[in-house]
Symmetry: C2
Subunit: 363 residues, 2 copies
């Protein structure tokens, strides 16, 4: 059992946070930054909170090297809200947008875009059980597409883009929910980036949206107020009461990332963690990893046992060994280990060692 | 200075919570209910979290005596999202809905409804600086209106309905953001109730929506997924990752309400607190309360000083005396004390005593 009785948590999100961050937040709950007011109880219109949100935006800008003329929003509603909102704001009525369908979330994003205009899957990995992401030659973008939408990391299937996908010169829109600030991301090559915070950046209930000048200037009249990027930008993410607590934790988590080597440090740790598991999985026929090499994710490692009937035993023994969140998403089953920014290397070492032992007992 | 250096917090929301609740949450942050996983880090698909959300819904049902055939949702996006969502789901395309415009929030709700159909202010208090809410004879509902929308408590102006407004036999939709679980509410007389949690029930980022069988059965095809009550209901508030932390705090706050006399206890405390301040305000010409008798709010007490130039001094001296959040909303200025469920009677006693002293020094 770890510190304070904490288990090794490999859940897909909301995900484990560094204990250092959790402790700092707990200490600020009754009285934040000496203000006399607790984190949950501070007015979003106060200077105390303005400092927090400004700090979180500055850190995000530094960590991701966000160009100065790009804008940042902290919204609510998760990526699922962004599936619709991106299309509503960026597509012309009855216009076109192209999608790389590398998993369930991409499919859902496409479905919402089709409420606005003509969304099209220029590539769809479903015939191959979503075991890979596409290469650049595998699809072509329609001439009239307003943008290309893709999902940088696919949590369910454990695949991830390790290159910037060709967009045929069109703007790129990316759902980076599961690898933002944990994998390489060239912001200047994208026009809109969105991500729920609950995997790499903090608790659920905060969505980060990064907009290029092009995305920020797309303006349609008459959109529902809460669905209009332009209005949120003009109100600096405080059109209405934001998730103040969530933004505070986001800032603390980003500070932790900065203290621990920034984006490069996070990438290195995530590489080390995932390679540790892939090395076990590739070591014998006992394991059957899902994603194909070249498309394998650093954030979510997914696999089956060659003998699938052993999977419940694997999960039960993992639980006995204080490891949780390993059950694969109900959509594909099997096993999944999520290795987001907050997941300590020690947890992955414990898992790799448990796997080796499990194989020798049951293999 | 109070416990842990906490000041008396009269902010309009996010608002003060009972220290008992804050402490309990802080203790659960690294390890929730002995699960080995912290509150922010628990999967929304786990049985541990399912127990939390079920408990919060059960408590809400008990506290408000919600009829069995009514449904409850915990969503994101605040009341501002509901301004649009209620109209989108409940109004027919180009249909009608009537509004009692008792303040800024009601006006905003009307504006969003007008994106869907024909929203109409059957009563508008703006000519009288929103000093009252209407009486039943003051307006009439259109025969073809789908529902009447009203705001039970008006935070900016400090007014509140103390009767169930006549709706001409139509369904009632109420924005109860600022008095839910703190003032009388006959749920069975309403068809849709919505409320941001950040005033009486917990942190920002959680919205409670209560739907009658009529509201739950209004179904339009093709709504954006996140805007469709029907889909949220079918997914039991977990269409996507909800604000898990916020729902945990909501449950803890509702438990506190139950331990402290339930709804009746909360109402009694809010009455005592507000009467304490109104009694000072009515005691001399030094003060100029904003709301008219009969419409005065138990949740937000708003006033000016007869000598308005003294207001900055009042606020500065209040700050010196460890009292915060008293500056009136930028829309109307003056002074406002918010006395939501989490505001202790002791804080209001301190404020009343400070006011009496201020008057004797400056009157």
């Amino acid at each position: 059992m770890g510190a304070l009785g904490r288990i090794h948590n490999f859940g897909g999100g909301p995900a484990v946070l560094p204990l250092e961050v959790v402790t700092e937040v707990a200490e600020s709950l009754p009285n934040m930054n000496g203000s006399g007011v607790g984190v949950m109880e501070v007015s979003h219109r106060s200077s105390v909170f303005q400092e927090v949100i400004d700090s979180a935006m500055d850190r995000m800008r530094r960590i991701l090297a966000i160009p100065e003329d790009y804008e940042i929003l902290f919204l609510q509603g998760g990526a699922t809200t962004q599936f619709y909102m991106t299309a509503l704001n960026l597509m012309s009525q009855n216009g076109m947008a192209d999608f790389l369908v590398t998993g369930i979330w991409a499919k859902k994003a496409l479905a919402e875009a089709n409420r606005i205009g003509d969304g099209n899957a220029v590539w769809d990995g479903s015939d191959n059980d979503f075991k890979t992401v596409p290469n650049d030659g595998d699809y072509s973008i329609r001439e009239d597409a307003a943008y290309l939408h893709y999902t940088s990391n696919n949590t369910l299937f454990g695949t991830q883009f390790h290159h910037l996908p060709d967009s045929g010169g069109k703007p790129r829109v990316v759902d980076a929910s599961s690898d933002i600030c944990g994998a390489p991301l060239d912001v200047s090559e994208h026009d809109l980036i969105y991500a729920g915070a609950q995997k790499n950046l903090g608790p659920s209930g905060v969505t980060v949206v990064i907009l290029s000048p092009w995305a920020a200037s797309r303006r349609k009249e008459g959109l529902p107020t809460m669905m209009d990027y332009h209005i949120h930008l003009s109100k600096r993410s405080m059109l209405n009461t934001p998730n103040t607590y969530g933004i505070f934790v986001l800032d603390r988590m980003l500070s932790w990332v900065e203290r621990n080597g920034g984006l490069e440090g996070a990438i290195q740790r995530n590489k080390v963690k995932s390679e540790m598991l892939y090395s076990v999985l590739d070591g014998s026929e006992f394991w059957s990893p899902h994603a194909e090499e070249g498309s394998r994710s650093m954030m979510n490692v997914t696999w089956n046992l060659a003998e699938e009937s052993l999977e419940p035993t694997f999960l039960a023994e993992a639980t006995e060994n204080e490891m949780g969140g390993l059950k694969g998403h109900r959509y594909i089953g099997g096993i999944r280990a999520s290795l987001y920014n907050g997941c300590p290397v020690e947890s992955v070492e414990a898992l790799a060692s448990f796997m080796t032992g499990f194989e020798s007992r049951h293999g």
